[in-house]
C-alpha cells in the first residue's frame, strides 16, 4: 500500500554548506492491516517523510507510492486515498464539529446522503455527540483531537498517516487515540505511525523503523530487532543504535 524507495529531501540552510538534508535515502514499505512505526527523536525527519507521503512536500529525489499512486505525479489521487493527522493539522476555530467533518467529507466528494450517515456513525463511534454544535475555539484539546480523527477517517481511506498524534495530550486522551488507531488496524487499514514515545510503538506497531538524522538505522519487527541486536529492552536498543551511528559518523570523519 505504501512503498518508499531512496527518498531524499534537502532544504537550503544558511548555517550549513550545501543545505540541510532532512531525509537521506529512506526506503521502506507498509502493508494493509499493518501499523508501521517511525520511531525517532525530534528533528529526525519523521514529519518531513510523512509530509512527502501526504503530497505536501515534493521529494528532492527518490520515489514514494501510496495506494499505487506516485506522490509527485498523481498527488490528487494520493490525497483522495489517505487520511492524514498530525499536531500541525488543526481544526477551524469558527466552525462546529459537525460542520468541520461535513466540509471535509464534501471535499472528498462523498454524496450527501452517504455523508450524513457516515458522520452520524463516526460521531457515535467517537462519542462526540455532545460536541456536535460546539465551535472549534470552544473545544478542549481532547475534543479537538476527536474532531481531527473524525476528519481524518470521514472518507474511509485505505491508508492512514499519523504524525505524533498523541503529542501534547494527557494520558487519558492519548490512550483513547491509540485505541482508535488500533481499531482502524483491525479494519484492515494500512497505517503509518510516527512517534518518539517507545511505549506506544511497543503497544501498537507490527514493524518499526528507527530513524535518526534523516536515516533509517534499523528496520524490522520488534522481535527481529531484539534478536538482531541482542537487546530485549526497546529503549536501550534505541539509545544503542543512536550511539553506534554517532560513533560511525565520527570515525568516518
Amino acid at each position: 500500500m505504501i512503498f518508499v524507495e531512496q527518498l531524499t529531501k534537502r532544504f537550503a540552510d544558511l548555517r550549513r554548506d550545501g543545505g540541510f538534508t532532512a531525509l537521506d535515502g529512506v526506503s521502506f514499505d507498509v502493508q494493509p492491516g499493518e501499523i508501521f512505526g517511525l520511531l525517532g527523536p525530534n528533528g529526525a525527519g519523521k514529519t518531513t517523510c510523512l509530509r512527502i507521503l501526504s503530497t505536501v512536500f515534493k521529494p528532492t529525489s527518490g520515489t514514494a507510492l501510496v495506494a499505487g499512486y506516485d506522490v509527485v505525479t498523481q498527488p490528487a489521487e494520493v490525497r483522495a486515498r489517505i487520511g492524514f493527522m498530525s499536531n500541525n493539522t488543526g481544526i477551524y476555530d469558527r466552525m462546529t464539529a459537525y460542520e468541520m467533518v461535513q466540509y471535509f467529507g464534501r471535499l472528498y466528494g462523498i454524496p450527501e446522503d452517504l455523508l450524513e450517515a457516515r458522520i452520524d456513525h463516526l460521531f457515535d463511534q467517537l462519542q462526540m455527540r455532545d460536541i456536535r454544535d460546539t465551535l472549534g475555539s470552544k473545544m478542549s484539546t481532547g475534543m479537538k483531537q476527536k474532531v481531527s480523527i473524525a476528519r481524518t477517517i470521514v472518507h474511509d481511506p485505505p491508508v492512514l498517516i499519523f504524525d505524533e498524534p498523541t503529542s501534547g495530550l494527557d494520558v487519558l486522551v492519548a490512550r483513547k487515540v491509540v485505541d482508535e488507531i488500533r481499531g482502524l488496524r483491525d479494519q484492515g487499514k494500512c497505517i503509518i505511525y510516527s512517534t518518539h514515545i517507545m511505549r506506544e510503538v511497543e503497544k501498537l506497531c507490527h514493524r518499526i523503523a528507527i530513524i535518526y538524522k534523516g536515516r533509517i538505522l534499523a528496520l524490522g519487527s520488534m522481535a527481529e530487532l531484539q534478536e538482531r541486536y541482542g537487546q530485549p529492552d526497546m529503549e536501550a536498543l534505541f539509545f544503542e543504535l543512536i550511539d553506534r551511528h554517532e560513533a560511525e559518523v565520527v570515525s568516518a570523519k
Binding site: 532544504f11 554548506d17 505536501v56 490528487a76 488543526g90 477551524y92 466540509y103 466528494g109
Partner: protein, 800 residues
C-alpha cells in the same frame, strides 16, 4: 479544475469571515456608522472653524470719513459677506463706550495698545529704510543697498519676536494728520485745482507676518476691507466733482456661471468616489486576505487544507472569490454610506456658507453608478489577488499587516495623481493598472458632454485591468504551490550569517533574489542620477551640449547599468563565465543572430511608429538626445559608441547576463526570459521605449538562452542600435528614386514600404526558425549535460 470544490471552499471561507466579529465590524458596521458620525462631528467644526483674529489700530482719530470702524469691528458695509465681520476684532485707540466692548477685556485692550505703541517707532523707521532702499536700488548704489538691506533685516528681526508674542495678528498705524491730508485732497479735487492735489503724504502702515498663517489670513481680510473703504473715499471725490462713481472700474466684467447645481455635485463625486473606491476596495480585500492566508498558517489549519483532495489552484480560487466578495462589499458600502451621509449633512447645513453652491448634492446618475459597479470588478479582483499572494507569503498576520502600508501608499499615490484636474484619460494611461479605472471613473462621474468620448476607453481599461488581475491571481496560485512559501519558518534573521552564506555558498549563477536586487539597484541609480547627470548638461554651453550629452550617456551606461551587475557577479557567484554567458557561441548561431537586426529593425520601427498615437508626448530631453544622434556636428564614431556599442555591451551584461541568469534559477526558462525582457523594458522609463525595449528584451533573452552565449545578443543589440543611428543621421538626405520606391520612402526621415516589411518578416521568421531548430539539435546531442549547473541546482528548495 473542479468548480464544486471551489464553491465549497468559497462558502466555507465566507461563513468563516462572517462569523468573525472583527471582519464584520470592519466591513459592515464601520462604514455604516463612520460617515454619519464623521458628518455629525464635522458640521459644527466647519461652522465654527475660523477663530476671530485680533487687529490693533493706532491713530483711529486720524481716520477720514466714511466711518471705517463700528465699535470693536470694522463696519459691516466694508465686507462683501457681512457675516465675515465677526472674524476680525479691532482694538483701536479710539474711545469706545462700555456697551460696545464685547469680546476684549479692558485689561487686554490696554496691554495690546501699549505693545502696539512700542512698535510704532521701529515701524516708522522701517518705512523710511524701505524708501531709502528703493531709492538705492533705483540709482544702483550697491554699497548703500547692502547696508540698508542689513539694517532692514535687523529691524525686522527685532520686531518679529515681540510681534509674535503680542497676541495681535495685524497692526495698522494711521499717521496723525491722515484725515486732514485726505480732506485737502478731496477739496482740491472738488474745486478742480489739479495742481493742488497732492498724493505725497504719509500713508497708514500695515504690519503682518506672512510666514504666520493666522497673520497672513487676517492681513488679507484687512486689505479687502481697506480696499472697499478706499473705494468709497474715491467715490465720494468723484461725486463731489460730478463724475460717475463707476469711473475707476471701466472693465469690471459681469460673470455668468453655467455650472448647474448637479454639475457641481458631479465634480465632488468624481473626486470622492474614485478615491474612496480604490482605498476601500484595497482595505476590504486586505484584512480578509490576511486572515485567509497568513491567518490560516498561524492557526495551524493550512496543512489540514493542503491534504484535502482540492488542488492548490482550487483552494486559491475559492479564497480569491471570498476576498473579492468582501472587497466589493466594503467598497460599495462605504460609497453608499459616504454618498448618502454627505447628501444628508449638506441638507442639514441649510445651504449657508461656501458649501451652499453645491445645492442639494444630488447623487450621480444611475448610469454612472452602474459604471462604478462595472469598474469595481477588475479593481477588486486585482487587489484581492495581490493581497492574497502577499498574505500567503507572510508567515504571520503581523508580517502580513506590514505589507498593507506600501500597497496602500502606492494605490493612493496613483489615485491622487489621477484626481488632479490636469490629468486626463489618454491611451497610455488606460492600460495602466489602477490609473486606467480611476481616470475612467473620474470622467464618467463628471457626466458632462466629454463622457461620450470616454467610452472608447472602456474596452482597453477593462481588458487590461482584467489582465492584471489574472497575472496577480497567477502569482497567488504560484505562491500557494511553493512549499518554501507555505512552510516558511520563523527564523531569526542574522545579518552576519546571511552575508557569510552569500559569500561562502556561491553557486555558479546568481539567485533569483540577487538578480531582482541588481535590477532594483539599477533602477535606484537611474533615479538618483537624474539630478547628478543633468548638472553638467545644464552648465554646458549650447554648442558643447551634444558632446557633453554623449559623455553623460556613456558614463550612465558604464556606471549605472554595467557596474552593479558586474560587481555582484564577481562577488556573489562562483562562475563569472556562466553568469555572464561569456562562452563563445557557435559560429552559425552568431551568424544567424547577426543577420536578424537587418530584418527586425524596419519591422519594429514601423510598428512603434504606428503606435505613436498611443503614448504621451516625448519629454524634451529625449527629443534633444534624438537630435544629437542625427546632428552632423558630432563624429559618427562617437554617436555609434554612445548609442550602439556602449548600450550593447553594458545592457547585455546586465540584463542578458546577470539578471537573466538569476531569473533562470527558478528553473522556468520562459518565465525568466519574459521577466528579464520586462525588466529591460521598464529600465528605459519612457513609455514609447518601454514597449519596444520589452519586446526586444524578450527576443534577446531567448537568443541568449538558445545560443548559450552573450555575444550574439551583443552583436544584435549593437547592429540594431547602429542601424537606428545611421537611419537618423543619413536617412534624411537619401533620395529615394526609381525601383527603390517600392522598398523605401522618405517622410522627413527614411521609412520603409510594406513590401520591404513583408520581406523582412519572412527573413526574420526563417532566421528565428533556424535558431530554434539548432537548439533542439544541440539538446539532443548533449542531453546528459542539459541539467548541468546552468540552472543551478533546481532540486534545492529554500525555506525562507
Amino acid at each position: 479544475m473542479n468548480w464544486r470544490n471551489v464553491l465549497l471552499i468559497f462558502r466555507r471561507e465566507v461563513l468563516d469571515q462572517v462569523r468573525d466579529r472583527r471582519t464584520l465590524f470592519m466591513i459592515l458596521v464601520l462604514p455604516v456608522l463612520l460617515y454619519p458620525a464623521m458628518g455629525v462631528g464635522i458640521v459644527p467644526l466647519i461652522q465654527f472653524a475660523e477663530q476671530p483674529r485680533t487687529l490693533v489700530l493706532l491713530g483711529a482719530d486720524a481716520l477720514p470719513e466714511p466711518k471705517l470702524l463700528d465699535g470693536e469691528h470694522f463696519a459691516g458695509e466694508w465686507f462683501r459677506d457681512p457675516s465675515d465681520r465677526s472674524k476680525l476684532v479691532v482694538v483701536s485707540d479710539a474711545a469706545i463706550g462700555p456697551a460696545e466692548a464685547e469680546t476684549v477685556t479692558e485689561e487686554r485692550r490696554r496691554r495690546l495698545l501699549e505693545t502696539a505703541r512700542k512698535f510704532r517707532g521701529p515701524l516708522e523707521r522701517q518705512v523710511v529704510l524701505n524708501a531709502q532702499f528703493a531709492e538705492a536700488v533705483r540709482v544702483g548704489d550697491q554699497p548703500a543697498m547692502a547696508s540698508l538691506g542689513e539694517q532692514r533685516k535687523a529691524l525686522a528681526a527685532e520686531l518679529s519676536q515681540p510681534f509674535a508674542a503680542s497676541g495681535m495678528q495685524v497692526l495698522v498705524v494711521v499717521p496723525p494728520d491722515f484725515a486732514e491730508h485726505i480732506r485737502q485732497m478731496q477739496d482740491a479735487a472738488a474745486n478742480r485745482q489739479v495742481g493742488a492735489i497732492t498724493t505725497d503724504y504719509p500713508r497708514p502702515i500695515l504690519l503682518r507676518n506672512s510666514a504666520d498663517e493666522k497673520s497672513a489670513m487676517a492681513a488679507i481680510r484687512v486689505q479687502k476691507v481697506l480696499s472697499s473703504w478706499e473705494h468709497a473715499i474715491l467715490q465720494h471725490v468723484l461725486r463731489e466733482v460730478g463724475l460717475p462713481e463707476e469711473l475707476p472700474q471701466p472693465v469690471n466684467p459681469t460673470e455668468v456661471d453655467l455650472a448647474a447645481e448637479n454639475e457641481l455635485a458631479a465634480n465632488v463625486w468624481s473626486k470622492l468616489f474614485p478615491a474612496l473606491l480604490m482605498m476601500m476596495a484595497l482595505t476590504g480585500a486586505f484584512y480578509p486576505a490576511i486572515d485567509l492566508g497568513a491567518g490560516e498558517k498561524e492557526r495551524g489549519t493550512m496543512e489540514t487544507l493542503l491534504i484535502c483532495p482540492a488542488t492548490r489552484t482550487e483552494i486559491v480560487i475559492g479564497k480569491f472569490f471570498t476576498v473579492m466578495l468582501f472587497s466589493m462589499a466594503t467598497a460599495l458600502l462605504n460609497l453608499s454610506s459616504a454618498g448618502l451621509s454627505g447628501k444628508y449633512m449638506l441638507s442639514l447645513t441649510g445651504g449657508s456658507g461656501g458649501l451652499s453652491r453645491l445645492g442639494d448634492l444630488s447623487l450621480p446618475p444611475m448610469t454612472a453608478l452602474v459604471w462604478v459597479l462595472v469598474l469595481l470588478v477588475p479593481l477588486s479582483a486585482l487587489f484581492s489577488a495581490l493581497c492574497l499572494a502577499l498574505a500567503t507569503f507572510a508567515k504571520s498576520s503581523k508580517e502580513g499587516q506590514y505589507y498593507l502600508t506600501p500597497l496602500l501608499m502606492l494605490t493612493l499615490g496613483m489615485t491622487m495623481f489621477c484626481l488632479s484636474p490636469a490629468v486626463e484619460m489618454q491611451p497610455f494611461y488606460s492600460v495602466l493598472p489602477v490609473m486606467g479605472p480611476a481616470l475612467l471613473l473620474k470622467g464618467l462621474l463628471l457626466a458632462n458632454h466629454q463622457t461620450a468620448m470616454l467610452y472608447v476607453y472602456v474596452a482597453p481599461v477593462l481588458i487590461s485591468s482584467l489582465g492584471y488581475s489574472f497575472l496577480a491571481l497567477w502569482w497567488a496560485i504560484d505562491q500557494f504551490g511553493s512549499e518554501e512559501v507555505l512552510f516558511r519558518e520563523a527564523e531569526r534573521f542574522d545579518l552576519r550569517l546571511w552575508v557569510q552564506h552569500l559569500l561562502r555558498d556561491k553557486e555558479p549563477t546568481p539567485s533569483f533574489s540577487e538578480a531582482t536586487f541588481a535590477f532594483v539597484v539599477i533602477m535606484m541609480l537611474q533615479f538618483l542620477s537624474l539630478r547628478v547627470l543633468q548638472a553638467p548638461l545644464q552648465s554646458a554651453s549650447a554648442e558643447e551640449r551634444p558632446l557633453v550629452m554623449m559623455q553623460v550617456l556613456i558614463i550612465q551606461q558604464l556606471v549605472i547599468i554595467a557596474t552593479p551587475p558586474l560587481l555582484m557577479g564577481v562577488m556573489l557567484t562562483a562562475s563569472v563565465m556562466k553568469t555572464f554567458r561569456l562562452h563563445l557561441p557557435q559560429l552559425a548561431d552568431f551568424a544567424a543572430v547577426a543577420m536578424l537586426p537587418f530584418a527586425l529593425h524596419p519591422l519594429t520601427l514601423e510598428f512603434s511608429a504606428s503606435l505613436q498615437w498611443f503614448f504621451p508626448p516625448l519629454p524634451p530631453s529625449v527629443g534633444e538626445a534624438m537630435a544629437a544622434m542625427s546632428s552632423d556636428h558630432l563624429p559618427i564614431w562617437l554617436v555609434l559608441l554612445t548609442f550602439a556599442f556602449a548600450p550593447a555591451v553594458c545592457e547585455e551584461l546586465a540584463f542578458r547576463g546577470f539578471i537573466l541568469s538569476g531569473f533562470r534559477h527558478t528553473g522556468r526558462d520562459r518565465l525568466a526570459i519574459v521577466l528579464s525582457g520586462l525588466a529591460f523594458g521598464v529600465m528605459h522609463l519612457i513609455p514609447q521605449q518601454v514597449l519596444n525595449a520589452a519586446m526586444l528584451g524578450v527576443l534577446l533573452g531567448w537568443i541568449a538562452v538558445q545560443t548559450r552565449s552573450l555575444w550574439p545578443g551583443v552583436a544584435f543589440h549593437c547592429l540594431y542600435n547602429g542601424m537606428e543611428v545611421c537611419r537618423n543621421r543619413f536617412g534624411k538626405t537619401i533620395e529615394v528614386t526609381g525601383g527603390w520606391q517600392y522598398l523605401f520612402r522618405n517622410e522627413g526621415g527614411l521609412r520603409y514600404q510594406p513590401l520591404l516589411l513583408l520581406l523582412c518578416a519572412v527573413v526574420a521568421m526563417v532566421l528565428l526558425m533556424v535558431l530554434a531548430r539548432r537548439r533542439r539539435q544541440t539538446v539532443a546531442d548533449s542531453h546528459p549535460s542539459v541539467n548541468s549547473p546552468l540552472t543551478g541546482s533546481p532540486e534545492l528548495s529554500i525555506p525562507r
